[in-house]
Symmetry: C2
Subunit: 118 residues, 2 copies
DNA sequence: CTAGGTAGTTTCCTACAGGAAAATACTTCC
DNA sequence: GGAAGTATTTTCCTGTAGGAAACTACCTAG
């Protein structure tokens, strides 16, 4: 009676598990959701704007996380030819598809607080 | 003209950001979603069952992650008085409220693969 | 009495995440 | 000429997440 019986061994489960890993990998780290959330709220923000909006983040992390997000086409980076050079960060159309997911996260978190508190 | 102008300084944003941090904190780590997903699929699994289902996890991590999830009332742990002692892990009613969130994660990840692949 | 199954805990190690602070480079205001 | 603003990069350091492997402990079937 050898046990192998894998619930997760069905193709559909494998695909879902992989998809969840992909998503979490893309959105990994302490700051990605903050950055994305901020850019969804106020489209078109400069680097220093983001520093001011996102409480506690350092320039190194912001820079790195923005690069990650840009690589995954969730955020766009546009260098403007202004007097002092300015960079404009914005959510892409594709990045905006994360809104329902972010809403679910927020919804669950809020409900969690209520269930703990009340 | 000092810039402070915080988009994120509204109470509603603060609450949402905090809620997202809470959620991500509770579901942090490499394995939580795998464990939760597995327990949602096949309710009532033993420790060794979970080891077999979750490819690559070690006993230390499984044990620790299950403790975390139990502490947050997402998973229940029941010791059964069987011949060789057996422990039964299951999703709680509360843990099941994560299903929509997990679905969003999977949905987005699947869509991501498609958009990358073409 | 030994092999194998149950459910973990403990120890040791490494790699990476992330923070603080300084450096870079260029421009404009006064 | 110096302060202040733009946008990073670089360096150095620390804590923790997580993996491998061994160990505990108890039970049962052969």
């Amino acid at each position: 009676m050898k046990k192998k019986a894998k619930i997760n061994d069905t193709p559909v489960c494998q695909v879902r598990m992989q998809a969840i890993s992909d998503t979490m990998s893309i959105l990994s780290g302490k700051w990605k959701f903050h950055i994305l959330g901020t850019l969804i709220e106020g489209s078109k923000l400069g680097f220093m704007d983001l520093m001011r909006e996102i409480d506690g983040i350092g320039s190194k992390m912001l820079s790195k996380e923005l690069q990650d997000l840009e690589m995954n086409h969730l955020v766009s980076r546009t260098v403007l030819d202004t007097k002092p050079i300015t960079v404009e960060y914005a959510i892409t159309e594709y990045g905006a598809t994360l809104a329902p997911l972010i809403n679910e996260l927020a919804k669950w978190g809020i409900q969690y607080r209520q269930s703990v508190h009340g």
